[in-house]
């Protein structure tokens, strides 16, 4: 199949278009802006709606409106903009409106910088806004993933009526790689709940208000059951040489590619290392972690471009079975040699 060279952000935007997304609302912010710019170029030619909103608050609420009509709709931003969107994401999660939200992430807190980071891990995986909810979170590691996960994101969003977040480091949005263009799909989900005018049917009402305590509890129980179903079905991870690994590296996004190279290198030096790459950050692929521990991994090394946010999830998965250590940078993606150095040090200390 023919490959084309594409930038990560553009591959993601093209993936959304191929998934049938015809509405995009956003506010410019580096390093995500190419997604909006791509839509601004393409949509007028194919009958899509592109609107530069007055803020991220506006953009996410426009997404809320467009999604309520059943349309496939997307917005993208980065750190500070994603923070502003959280209010709306909470409403969208509760109203169960499918949509895709992209975080081409950078380092914080505050304004931080525009260099690559995975600092929004907690915000993405814990819900992010007010209330008891989750979004699904996909972490691409290649430009091909950017296209594929955009398409998959819309399917998951429709299937579970849930906002899906795609979180990729800024570098992934900016870099170019050859990819295979996927065939466009026609969205096939019935949306009888959509507010499209009540001609020939009973009026539909979309609300997030549940004043009576029993109703509110019922609602939260229902959402929990949905999240449990997603946890049971949709945890995804890539595992590499974990069968006999004594030391397992855990890394997502671009960092997982660096970690994989490091694993190959230390294997040559006789170290039984492996890699688990979470693809869904929520739901977190805890069973893959447990399996590696059961196969004999004594130590897990969480590699992140933040100060160790994923460590909690690995520890929760292990529940005391094995130890977890952490190595991370911010604003910089370490090269494989740096990781090899860290792993060799640990291997020596632990006598692996």
């Amino acid at each position: 199949m023919e490959k084309v060279l594409m930038k990560g952000n553009e591959a993601l935007a093209e993936g959304a278009i191929r998934a049938g997304c015809r509405a995009y609302f956003g506010y410019p912010i580096t390093p995500s802006s190419e997604i909006a710019e791509y839509m601004a170029r393409k949509y007028p030619k194919i009958g899509g709606v592109f609107l530069q909103a007055e803020s991220e608050l506006a953009a996410i609420n426009m997404v809320y409106g467009a999604a309520s009509t059943g349309a496939r709709v997307m917005t993208a931003s980065s750190g500070p903009g994603i923070s502003l969107k959280q209010e709306g994401i909470s409403f969208i999660a509760e109203a169960e409106l499918p949509c895709v939200i992209v975080n081409i992430s950078r380092g914080g807190p505050g304004l931080g910088g525009i260099q690559p980071a995975q600092s929004d891990y907690f915000q993405a995986t814990r819900g992010g806004g007010h209330g008891d909810y989750h979004t699904m979170v996909l972490a691409p590691a290649s430009v091909q993933d950017m296209m594929d996960f955009a398409m998959e994101g819309f399917e998951l969003a429709d299937k579970y009526r849930i906002p899906v977040m795609i979180m990729a480091e800024g570098t992934l949005g900016q870099m170019m790689e050859p990819i295979i263009l996927r065939d466009p799909v026609t969205p096939g989900y019935e949306k009888p709940w959509a507010t499209t005018g009540c001609k020939g049917r009973k009026p539909n009402v979309i609300t997030t208000l549940h004043l009576p305590p029993e109703e509110l509890e019922q609602r939260n129980r229902y959402l929990k059951s949905k999240y449990d179903l997603i946890k049971a079905r949709e945890k995804r991870a890539e595992t590499f040489m974990t069968e006999d690994a004594k030391l397992v590296l855990v890394a997502f996004g671009l960092m997982s590619r660096v970690a994989k190279r490091a694993v190959m290198e230390v294997r040559k030096r006789g170290i039984k290392a492996g890699l688990i790459r979470p693809i869904t950050l929520w739901p977190f692929p805890d069973e893959h972690i447990v399996e590696a521990a059961e196969n004999g991994a004594k130590l897990f090394l969480s590699l992140e471009i933040n100060m160790g946010q994923m460590v909690e999830d690995i520890k929760l998965a292990l529940n005391g079975r094995s130890r977890v250590e952490f190595y991370g940078r911010i604003g910089i993606i370490p090269n494989p040699e740096e990781i090899v150095g860290v792993v060799m040090q640990i291997a020596e200390r632990e006598g692996l």
Binding site: A23, M62, A71, T196, P203, N204, L209
Partner: protein, 249 residues
């Protein structure tokens, strides 16, 4: 007993409605209901309400409806309209929602001349949260957060919404201020604002001067006199902009 006729577009199982006795919200929503009926748009309307006492209208109409967040009704209606231009979208909000927390959205929707209709209820205070100052609170008016009366030196002068919306919109916009004390005129304005959207001319905005006896702590007579003597003096009623013919004052 002869019951007052209710608009066909009202959703009867939620009536009688839950606004306080003497509240103007019910009058505005009656005018809106009758306008929807007369224009025959019930089955292609999406009604969106803000948070504030307007929230009590989330299941008010037998129309598709969407409840949004405080101040965010305008962009939600924009999202709906942009995704499905064939729908008639009506955003319903209070003065706090529209002029304070949601002002960036109202301002920019006006500038873009979004083809939606916004109906904003001006009752000079934050009704739902118990009567705090609103952008529209009159100079000297006592509220829970201006216990000594609103001092324009500290908090500025009341927001004049239709005036600023009229100044920001371009051709095709419809902008008016009505009052619940002049029901027929208010209904005409609301109907014009919907007609303007049906014709796809531009942004359509009606502010309705309204009563809040609960937080004003006024009896029937005082309520009416505050509306007619104080509010209508400060906030002139009439059409500010209309592509539908000559403006009505």
């Amino acid at each position: 007993m002869v019951l007052p006729a209710t608009p066909k577009s009202w959703y009867l199982p939620t009536k009688p409605h839950k606004f306080c006795p003497g509240c103007g919200h019910g009058i505005v929503l009656k005018a809106l209901g009758e306008a929807i009926d007369e224009l025959g748009i019930q089955d292609k309307t999406v009604f969106g309400c803000d948070i504030g006492c307007s929230l009590l209208s989330w299941n008010f109409f037998a129309c598709d409806s969407i409840q949004t967040h405080h101040g965010r009704t305008t962009p939600v209606m924009v999202g709906i309209k942009r995704a499905r231009p064939e729908l008639i979208t009506i955003g319903y909000m209070g003065d706090g929602g529209g002029y304070s927390i949601g002002s960036q959205h109202l301002l920019n929707a006006a500038v873009r001349n979004e083809k939606i209709t916004v109906i904003l209820v001006n009752n000079t205070n934050y009704g739902m949260t118990g009567g705090q100052m609103a952008p529209t609170t009159l100079p000297g008016q006592k509220t829970e957060t201006t216990p000594y009366g609103r001092d324009p030196e500290i908090t500025g002068y009341p927001t004049k919404g239709p005036e600023f919306v009229a100044a920001l919109t371009s051709d095709g916009a419809y902008v008016a201020r009505g009052t619940v004390s002049k029901y027929k005129q208010l209904k005409r304005f609301i109907k014009n604002a919907l007609q303007n959207q049906i014709e796809g001319n531009g942004f359509s905005f009606v502010e309705a001067l309204s009563t809040c006896p609960t937080n004003w702590r006024t009896n029937a007579q005082q309520t009416w006199s505050f509306l007619e003597d104080e509010m209508e003096k400060y906030f002139p009623v009439g059409e500010f902009k209309s592509p539908l013919g000559k403006g009505e004052k």
